[in-house]
């Protein structure tokens, strides 16, 4: 008797999708080492010129800016999402639970464009924040928030919040509450319990959430493009410009290869940096 019924039927469609995805990735790799022929979509022979061009200050700066932007975003997202995830998993009121869950998860499903647009209205010179601050007399002329890195970070934090809340809440909900009760009965205060038990035990969630936020921000395009308005150059906006304004697909491909490698490297580093912490918490 077949001990693995339907195996072939169940795996082959997924295999086909995987083949398509691998082919697409190989296409990017292949294009990244081809010469660009201006004015056409055809590509020339094999060359390293695309990767050499990336050493120019303009592109090196874009990479550095993107990494910095991602770090800031992931950090602020973590700081804002943790209290929400904590409240979500610890509240006794089911109405409050549902409220926090719906409020923090809905933005996940609104897409980058809707959320970025709403931040444009919040941050603009005639926008909500400037109008409010001017009316209150806290400012005498509008503060420039659009087209700044700060504005991009604020919007990106909002975009990455939901996934961070979900990942932290998943980690927090799986912590055995008896550890906390034991510490409490031994006389530890709430802050000490949080710092020595809850926080270390939620470390896997923090690492997962931080790296996901990092990867998402790295991949974000609409937010830096619309809120940065061309004045905040990131890897994603450069790739789009190269691809669709100058049709330099080989260079766009090599940028996205380096972008992918960089984002994978940072995530791997994060995991490595966090593993001593996880061992300390005894979860590995």
């Amino acid at each position: 008797m077949n001990t693995r019924p339907f195996l072939g039927w169940f795996v082959s469609p997924a295999g086909l999708v995987a083949v398509g995805l691998i082919a697409a990735m190989l296409a990017v790799f292949q294009y990244s080492v081809r010469a660009y022929i201006p004015g056409t979509l055809e590509v020339g022979g094999f060359t390293w010129a695309n990767f050499e061009a990336m050493l120019r200050p303009l592109y090196a700066l874009a990479f550095w800016n993107t990494v910095l932007l991602c770090f800031e975003t992931a950090l602020f997202t973590l700081l804002l999402a943790y209290p929400l995830a904590y409240a979500l998993t610890r509240t006794n009121s089911s109405a409050l639970r549902s409220f926090i869950l719906i409020v923090s998860v809905t933005p996940l499903f609104l897409g980058e464009v809707v959320r970025t647009y709403s931040w444009m209205i919040v941050l603009g010179n005639n926008g909500f924040l400037n109008s409010l601050l001017l009316k209150l007399g806290l400012l005498d002329r509008p503060l420039q928030m659009m087209f700044t890195a700060g504005g991009v970070v604020a919007a990106l934090v909002h975009v990455t919040m939901p996934i961070m809340v979900i990942m932290l809440a998943a980690a927090l909900s799986h912590i055995d509450r008896n550890y906390e009760k034991a510490a409490e009965s031994l006389g530890a205060g709430p802050i000490r319990i949080f710092l020595t038990i809850t926080l270390p035990l939620s470390m896997p969630g923090i690492v997962a959430g931080f790296s996901t936020a990092f990867a998402w921000t790295f991949s974000a395009f609409a937010t830096p493009q619309l809120i940065g308005g061309g004045r905040v150059a990131t890897v994603s906006t450069l790739i789009y410009q190269l691809g669709f304004s100058s049709f330099n697909f080989p260079f766009a491909a090599s940028l996205s290869i380096i972008g992918l490698a960089l984002s994978l490297a940072v995530i791997a580093l994060l995991k490595k940096a966090a593993s001593p912490l996880e061992r300390m918490a005894g979860t590995t």
């Binding site: 339907f6 719906i102 974000a220």
Partner: protein, 271 residues
């Protein structure tokens, strides 16, 4: 147990903190809602006069209507294909060991970390090299790739919670594997499959970055049409459309929450 004033103060400051963060999350939605009803074409807070005309414009603008139907076509196809392909694969990796199992799983989960523009660019280059062209099948394929990880996860969690004794019982009573699959396993997995489909559909309908690369004027979806609009016009039409978006999504999620338990799907419920 009596709580000390310090503990109480901590508790209340925690509550205030959570309220402030929730305000940050809600702020853009509220601001968009206010500006959607603003009569003037220029942004203004608070609006001097109110009107519904931007809602009418959102409904009558041809690109949005076309984008909506294109998006719906892509979404229904992509999430349905993803549910079939992804749950079958999740079933296989949950139950069996086979050659290339971990490799395939890694590849199919990789769109979670690979930047969407890399995937989009890759599929675009592949299409131009093979001469497939930028039609609907290309956009649908890109979306299947994007949402597959979420469907796999949703089905995998349902399989973890499935009581395999029911299948064993059916088997011991002489049911064939095919009959067990259709009369026991799949019916038990329905909630997980449905929520996987719903998640995939919502994500696919909103996918933007990869779609921008792989779609053409004829196949552009609603988010792409919205992006093009915001680059051309500054009036509140997009605010009106965003309000519709937010209301529909929040309603769908509230329904999903009450019927399927969002906490369970997202794995944030305590065990």
């Amino acid at each position: 147990m009596k709580r000390s004033p310090a503990t109480l103060a901590l508790r209340w400051s925690g509550r205030v903190l959570v309220a402030v963060i929730l305000l940050f999350v809600l702020l853009p939605g509220v601001v968009v809602a206010i500006s959607a009803f603003n009569d003037r074409a220029i942004l203004q807070f608070p609006p001097q006069s109110w009107s519904l005309r931007w809602f009418w414009r959102a409904f009558s603008y041809a690109d949005f209507a076309k984008g909506f139907w294109n998006g719906l076509t892509v979404t229904v196809w992509a999430s349905s294909i993803a549910v079939v392909v992804g749950s079958a694969f999740a079933f296989a990796i949950h139950r069996y060991k086979f050659a290339l199992r971990d490799f395939l799983e890694g590849i199919l989960l990789s769109p979670l970390i690979i930047p969407h523009y890399t995937v989009g660019l890759g599929i675009l280059i592949l299409a131009s090299q093979t001469g497939i062209g930028r039609g609907f099948p290309l956009v649908i394929f890109a979306h299947v790739v994007m949402v597959l990880p979420f469907v796999m996860r949703s089905t995998y969690i349902s399989l973890e919670n499935l009581d395999t004794r029911l299948e064993l019982a059916a088997s011991s009573l002489g049911a064939t594997p095919l009959r067990i699959l259709f009369t026991v396993t799949i019916p038990l997995l329905i909630p997980g499959l449905l929520s996987g489909w719903l998640f995939a559909a919502i994500l696919s309908f909103n996918e933007f970055t990869a779609t921008l690369f792989v779609s053409s004027q004829a196949t552009q979806t609603l988010p792409v049409a919205m992006y093009n609009y915001v680059r051309e016009f500054a009036d509140p039409t997009l605010a009106a459309l965003s309000v519709i978006y937010i209301v529909v999504t929040a309603t769908l999620l509230t329904i999903a929450n009450s019927f399927l338990g969002l906490g369970k799907i997202l794995n944030v419920d305590a065990h």
